[in-house]
Symmetry: D3
Subunit: 272 residues, 6 copies
């Protein structure tokens, strides 16, 4: 990788994936601007940090100034109350896209999620042309930002690669992750490919490592130039010993979204 | 039509289409509960009025209590500032769906819009399986509510018929409306069919009268039992005399969204 | 209609639809050969009767001799025990196709059924390219005969029009029939069109009158030259008064197969 | 129809369809410029005639000067020698499109043919997205001009409606025409709709009247605003009495192209 | 592979593939119950044998008792008389599925065949959504069991992986097998993957090794987690030396079913 | 590879790819007949040369006599004047197909081009079923020959593999070639596979090496038995250092055809 960018903004830079992106994307840019609502540890010389809430419009706009590309991984990463989702993911992402537009940024790489399509089933073998089927408020906010990216491409010429992250963890941690796991390295390579592909337009890709069981089809994003290189197979024996076989008829096994489909409404949960 | 419902809630009841729905849906229910942020004139004995802002969560939830079905036509009907769209259309619609869930309402008929798919072209001949391509913040909010309806069906069993209204006016008023017009009577019949169809699940339909030029395909909503009966043809001679022929290469002629695709960002406009 | 055939064999001629076909197809042939396991009443001069069980191979073959076309409506018309279905529908239909092959018959019109696709949902809007999804042993036997017809076309050049009859009764009798009804006249016209179309090859068509709610798409059989002319609408008010509104989430309302999807295994039922 | 054009050029104006177009399109333009290689009879005051061979580049270019739209129906109308097809249909049509480009003409309506897709079968139920499958050199030249029109739209912004004419004659003349017939009136209405539709881009439409048997799907050209209004049904009894029933397995019955698929190579025929 | 099952029933265990499955599946279960109509040689300690005809309903039901999963490879493996096919494949498979239902078995892996789709052509590049096109009575029985599996999933919640075996032999034995070969190891791995995949529902997969020429698409079964690992390439030179190049126009070369499409009716053959 | 052919005719044998094919295809045939309008250097013992213009019908026909297969790579390889394209590519290719027909040749491998589909975009991810969208006269002539091949297969039983060559050069020479490059070895292997596949019928394949960015889908030609083995990745660093990053919104970056879409009409250019 050559340093083709001057400055890349990474939102959510203090998070699990943000930390990996700091390392992985460093060769691509002279400088990484890191944004998060939480403090960011161990700043390197090529990094600068901005601490703000995505719901803060002015701060978000300011963060986009002077940036060549945006890797937008910030926001609430799980099912949460409507207010949290609304502020961090819906309003926050809108602020980032508006910031991009005002600052003339040309490409956004967005961390969408399997939960934007969580109610499709494994055997549906969907590809990126499948309809949205969110499995909760979190997934709904991901659908919103995908559509926001589509609008900003059609109307304002800002490209978006919407990467539907499945389960990106250091290791697969349960039986579902045997198929849904995205290794950190594959995740970083996917973001890097999305930043450097010659043409993105508005592209949706599914973020899964090269696991044996493949329940979605990534054909429609092959122009990103990404092929996953890791696999969950080395973890199979251990995980199968640890967890009993799943019931194929259970909603959480049936659907791409896993246990998210078993969740009730987050505001009900909160009030319990 | 027989009065199969006890109470139907109509939001946006003071609006252009709301007024038509009051007349047209009266035979379907014992009582119509009318909601709007504006005053509602000429209440009939079968009507009751609730005046509130959809952004008011408590009022919206209260309006849904004791209701059999919801016809959700309220909200901002045009491109407007982000704050207006966010409050009236995104937050407001969320409040209505949450109200429906808490009150056990089983079916929602939602006024989506052509502007959810405004960047598709006429010759694309899309059907309801086409991807969202909003042409502005207004259309983006319509996409959001469609996905919200999808979620509430998949997770909570509340049906939604999302009706993408094209141009519903007393008469077609320009050359584009020769194909985009939806007569008031066809509109009311479409809502009535959506309320009474045996099975809706989550269904998207395109609201257009039986005009000569047909740029979208309604095949995937044929189970709603609706066939448009009006046509713009009687208005053709008059409109062609009044307006010059369009340039087929102009973005506003090329795309389903019409002149919405020519609009810039509403917040830019506002600041001018 | 002109009498283009010398002799048409109608199986199931004593049944509900067979009786209609005797009247309706008379103009198409010099002679109708009527077959059934039950006695056939009121033979007309242009008719001859053969009483035999379709499971009787020799009798079935004999019935096909000297015939120009076969309208195969015989067999068990409802969910029944495996032995009944096996003998009458699977073995019986095989006997008829073998009879056709040995006798050089060129075209078969077969009464398939909605129950070959009963587990598809109304909002799936399937067409004739959808996969088989039978809703019971009866539907399974219909799938078998469709595949049998496909084989006899590909290998032996015998054409089949497989007509998936929905609900063909004198009048629609319940709320489901408001969409699933096939009037007797439309049914007879569909069979006549299938007999006289210039080219059938192997074609699947869905037998539904021109009812308001249309849950399947007949596009792929438009070369048969059939358009339904009747509608269930005149019966709507009466039926809606008689039966309560359905629950859209009930399996029998959700699926094309209606209450067949609620049935258990017929052999279990029999043993109760 | 209102006279929205100043001058329309009609090529092939002395031919069978050209004569109809002269009458039918007169209300659309102040003047019709008629071109043919043969003499054109009975010029009306609103008409002017140009007699030249389409292979004559300079004459073809000159004919396009000062024209608002072109109805290109000229060329060899049947299977002929390669040299004839090459000169009249391939070179000739190229001259017309180049003429259009040089003269700034914005829309061309082209008489393509069923023979561009003649090797598809009736039961394939193709639509305008099906691949080219020409059934002879004539059909091959029609494919060429469709692709030429596509190029001139993509590169030069000249719209084309490519109308695949099936069998346009005063009356259906054989059994095949019971499904392939395009009445003169429907043909003229199709050309007029193609000239006046708000947006054509590059659109392919199938030119068939509203006959009972419908072997192709016109869904993808519904934005032209054309619905056929005539039918071959009144001619059925007469034609069925005159011609024996077809053999459904004969190539000429099986394929859309009819007897063209039985033709050998035209240059072989010529040398016999 | 870990022994996740207590007992797996393998039908057809004395056959060519059954012998391989005994070896290959042993690690997956504590015990293999082997069923065949022929004697089973060399029973191992982890095996038990049941000798019965699949047409024997009671024996088939008994064989399913106490079983965790069924690998149903029994029945007639080639084109045979109708009576043989009917008894072994149609009635026999029905007995196995009923046995599974009565015994509460949750998953069946079924040996379907290329001959269920034998009349599709290589260049059609079909996937698992293609229609059935059996090439004989054998293939017809495979279609029947696929539909039976679909029914038992939709109605009774028993999963089926229907594996369309192409040519599973120790080595490719003719030119066709250069593309149709399925190595024994790949076959065993496919069955093992089908037994252990988290979710099967009703899934159709095509059983072919990783040969150079790939005439079908296995995209729709990627959730089984199977990738073939063997290839026919090492056998190419030998086979091309031994057999002349095929005629690409021969029906047996054109179609997936190979020489099965050249067969007449098996009962005709038998009577010669 | 074994020498399965007696004589293969290679047109364009003096060109860049022709030279590679002489080396690569030598093992497949006893003799290579080389044709070109230019002199052919360094004839080997297994080669014979014919120097003629493809527009010379008699010479082209003569070249096809006694040939087992034709590798048709001759003609104008770039955008040129209409007359050049017409004579070399349209008339010339027609002469070759007619030569093949008269000489009884059974298979043609044709060098089509990305420019037959140059106006599709990278993110469209088209496959071989996509419509022609030529990006110039050169691409238009490639579309013509594809349709010619389709005709000669449907009507005369001559197979064609139409290989859409993207950028076949010794090395990728600019940023676009990082995705469009086809190595010489992959090109030769693709031609060899097309010559030896058991069944080609009429097949379109896309000629691209196994580069990281993959903007087209080759699924529909998997029966050719070709997998590219080279990749542009080793050239990435050098090319990215040499050329600036592209603008994703530039037409030449957006479309498959690259800078061809920026070209005006070749006859305009010539007259400058």
């Amino acid at each position: 990788m050559t340093a083709r960018f001057d400055t890349i903004l990474i939102t959510g830079a203090a998070g699990r994936l943000g930390t990996e992106l700091r390392k992985g994307l460093a060769p691509l840019a002279r400088k990484l601007r890191l944004a998060d609502v939480a403090a960011i540890a161990d700043l390197k010389p090529n990094e600068e940090a901005l601490i703000f809430d995505l719901a803060d419009e002015a701060a978000a706009h300011a963060a986009c100034q002077g940036v060549d590309a945006i890797v937008h991984f910030g926001g609430v990463p799980l099912e949460r109350s409507w207010d949290s989702i609304l502020n961090a993911n819906i309003r926050g992402s809108y602020h980032i896209y508006e910031g991009a537009r005002k600052a003339g940024v040309r490409r956004v790489v967005y961390a969408s999620s399997v939960h934007a399509i969580g109610y499709h089933r494994l055997e549906d073998q969907i590809d990126a042309s499948a309809a949205h089927r969110p499995d909760g408020l979190y997934g709904l906010s991901k659908c919103f930002v995908e559509d926001l990216g589509r609008l900003y491409w059609d109307k304002f010429g800002i490209e978006t690669a919407a990467l539907r992250i499945f389960s990106s963890f250091p290791e697969p941690a349960d039986r579902r992750m045997l198929w849904s796991w995205l290794s950190f390295d594959d995740c970083v390579r996917l973001v890097a490919a999305s930043l450097t592909a010659p043409r993105v337009g508005f592209t949706v890709a599914h973020g899964l490592s090269d696991n044996a069981v493949k329940p979605v089809d990534n054909r429609l994003s092959a122009h990103l130039g990404w092929q996953p290189q890791d696999s969950s197979e080395p973890f199979r024996v251990g995980l199968e010993a640890k967890f009993p076989p799943p019931d194929a008829r259970a909603p959480a096994v049936q659907h791409l979204g896993g246990w998210f489909v078993d969740l009730g409404h987050p505001d009900d949960e909160a009030s319990k």
